[in-house]
């Protein structure tokens, strides 16, 4: 991040700025989704866009996720750059055929002759008291599919730079935003910038243990690293920023340096993002590791409603702190 960044904006505003800048730059960029126009989505992330760009480019759709996502695939093939808004990440299940069987495969199946430059923006994250169908973190599903790219920003700065790149990408990109992070403020320069997909970011340097964290878990890992510092443990926090393409080198290099790794992601661990990243590190840094790679993710249960139950399902600063201390044999 540049030294000169001084202006602070929220995560939601960073997203909105990225969309507005790309829509000014490229007349083919348009937004499709439920309550995206005057309502600006329930999270108010898109407020003001319809006023600037009009209803021809910010389109309210029926509650038909498969229908408008499919339309976006066809529109992307034929000259537009649609950004579809899937309000809750849980609703991606309704778009699966369009994303997995269509968007992801069109370029390959056509021998490279058609391409699908579209973005799906959606959300992830629990602890909003929204229960099992509005709280999941399903980014691993798309990360599994060749042909898709998956972005998981963790700061306002990353959100803006990565979204602008995603919109300019020639492939279908799924962009997951943590709902709980929309009000988080962070430095974002006024000057234009983009961030390439597939480049991890070292959020904090350290020597004793590596905390690989994604999206909502980056702030958790940073909080844990502050607690660890007080306990005399120097933690490095690495944010892959994209699960595909995945910056394997930065992950492996950090693991080799610290020799201990915890991977933290809000999705389910079972066959999940943490499993993939742990495997990459185990294969790439095996002889430099002093402990097995540990994984932390959502508990393997549907997300419950009751606050004390829900809070138990996701990693916290404290649980990461305790796990890191144990891994460093400092209990």
């Amino acid at each position: 991040m540049p030294e000169v960044a001084q202006r602070e904006v929220t995560f939601a505003q960073a997203i909105r700025e990225a969309l507005a800048e790309e829509m000014r730059r490229d007349a083919t960029v348009c937004i499709l989704g439920e309550d995206v126009a005057e309502a600006g989505t329930p999270f108010k992330v898109l407020s003001g866009l319809v006023e600037e760009f009009g209803k021809d480019r910010v389109l309210d759709t029926p509650i038909s996720e498969a229908g408008f996502t499919g339309m976006a695939v066809g529109a992307a093939m034929t000259g537009l750059r649609p950004v579809v808004d899937i309000m809750f990440g849980d609703f991606i299940t309704l778009t699966m055929d369009q994303m997995v069987n269509q968007a992801a495969k069109v370029h390959y199946m056509s021998g490279g002759r058609w391409k699908v430059p579209m973005v799906m923006r959606t959300t992830l994250g629990a602890t909003r008291r929204s229960a099992a169908q509005h709280s999941q973190s399903l980014h691993a599903w798309f990360s599994h599919v060749p042909g898709l790219k998956v972005v998981l920003p963790s700061t306002p700065y990353d959100a803006k730079g990565l979204l602008k790149t995603a919109i300019r990408d020639e492939n279908p990109v799924v962009f997951f935003e943590d709902k709980m992070m929309y009000k988080l403020k962070g430095p974002v320069p006024t000057e234009e910038y983009t961030i390439p997909l597939g480049v991890a970011d070292i959020k904090r340097e350290g020597n004793d243990i590596t905390l690989v964290a994604t999206s909502s878990m980056v702030q958790v890992a940073l909080g844990a690293s502050t607690l660890l510092e007080k306990a005399g443990i120097s933690a490095e926090v690495i944010d892959p920023r994209t699960t595909w393409p995945l910056d394997e080198k930065t992950l492996i290099d950090s693991a080799k340096k610290t020799s201990r790794v915890i991977v933290i992601d809000e999705g389910y661990g079972r066959y999940g993002v943490t499993a993939e990243i742990a495997s990459v590190i185990a294969e790439g840094a095996f002889y430099d590791l002093d402990a097995p790679v540990k994984r932390m993710g959502a508990m393997h249960v549907p997300i419950p409603f009751s606050p004390p139950l829900e809070d138990a399902t996701v990693p916290t600063e404290n649980s990461v702190f305790e796990a890191a201390r144990a891994l460093c044999n400092r209990n």
Binding site: T28, C30, D56, L59, T61, P62, S64, A66, G67, F68, T69, G70, M71, A72, V73, G74, A75, A76, M77, T78, G79, L80, P82, D97, Q98, N101, Q102, V106, H107, Y108, M109, S110, G111, G112, R113, W114, K115, V116, P117, P146, G147, K149, E170, N171
Partner: protein
């Protein structure tokens, strides 16, 4: 090599048009007979779903389209692709998995796609392309390029909810898209009456689409009804739905030989004898003195020779080199 004559939309007499449609239907019939032959000789891998018997639908509709208009097709898609202008040699090459194929061998029979003829791709998910066709119409409308999109599908697709989502969207946005339902009576091995409640056309008129039903064995009737819906959509008057009643002469796929458990042989014979689209047009051309039998058999000989040459081209063409397997996953 181009066997299918490129159409000039500006100069065409009724006779020229009828002969062109005759030629197209015959080309598709001869193409499919060769697919059957290649498959049964084990020269073609995978699956082959033949369009024999349904030629008038693709030809009648595509005759009303411009070269840069869009189509989407289905697993039973060879006829649509040829009618939209694909070359048989590159079609056969794709069917055999060869480098010279439309998709460089990566798509195969069920995924022929070709930007040069506006073919957005055949789709092996039933109703999988309804979103893509609707999205292409959306892009055409937003870009103001005057194009229309035709979405071909079989009556089996009437069972998929995504069709109703996009018909609703198409009517709300007044998109230039025509949904062409080819009712060949059998959803794989099940008569459509066992899977389809109510009247098919009502499903389109419920959304306010302009809907028409036509004898899918009469190419002139298909063309007339198709033209009306296409030109109406092109003028910005909204989407259309064309129900073409037709018949699949052969099995669901080559190899579906024992069919008597789902339909009687007498029924097949009746359609072949009395309702064959090529025979019917031949009779009309002769009656109207728009062609004579010498001329028609000369055309058949010429097409036969060209199809045989196209098969020869595909059979002798090289396979893709192994390193191509990882190409074109991403654009």
């Amino acid at each position: 090599m181009t066997i299918i004559t490129e159409r000039s939309k500006t100069t065409t007499t009724k006779a020229e048009q009828a002969l062109r449609m005759y030629r197209q239907m015959l080309a598709i019939r001869l193409f499919e007979e060769r697919v059957n032959d290649l498959y049964t000789r084990a020269l073609m891998p995978g699956l082959a779903h033949l369009y024999i018997g349904e030629e008038a639908v693709a030809v009648g509709v595509c005759e009303a389209l411009h070269k840069d208009d869009y189509i989407t097709s289905t697993h039973r898609g060879h006829g649509h692709c040829l009618a939209k202008g694909a070359s048989p040699d590159r079609m056969f090459a794709e069917l055999l998995g060869k480098e010279a194929g439309y998709c460089r061998g990566k798509g195969g029979s069920m995924h022929i796609a070709d930007p040069a003829t506006g073919n957005l791709g055949a789709n092996a998910i039933v109703a999988g392309s309804v979103g893509i066709a609707t999205g292409a119409a959306f892009a055409a409308q937003r870009l103001g390029n005057g194009r229309v999109a035709v979405c071909f599908f079989g009556e089996g697709a009437l069972g998929q909810g995504s069709l109703y989502e996009v018909m609703n969207l198409a009517q709300l946005f007044k998109l230039p898209v025509i949904y062409v339902c080819e009712n060949n009576l059998y959803t794989e091995y099940t008569h459509f009456s066992e899977t389809t409640a109510g009247e098919i056309l009502n499903r389109a008129t419920a959304f306010g689409l302009e809907a028409a039903m036509v004898d899918g064995q009469d190419v002139r009737a298909v063309h007339e009804a198709g033209s009306r819906l296409i030109e109406r959509a092109r003028r910005g008057e909204g989407p259309g739905f064309l129900l073409a009643n037709t018949y699949r002469y052969t099995g669901h796929h080559v190899g579906d030989i024992a069919r008597e458990y789902y339909r009687p042989k007498a029924e097949e014979q009746e359609w072949k004898m009395d309702r064959d689209p090529i025979k019917n047009l031949t009779k009309w051309l002769l009656e109207q003195k728009l062609a004579d039998s010498v001329q028609l058999s000369a055309m058949e000989s010429e097409l036969t020779a060209e199809m045989d040459k196209a098969v020869e081209f595909a059979v002798t063409a090289p396979y893709p080199s192994p390193e191509e397997v990882e190409q074109d996953v991403y654009a």
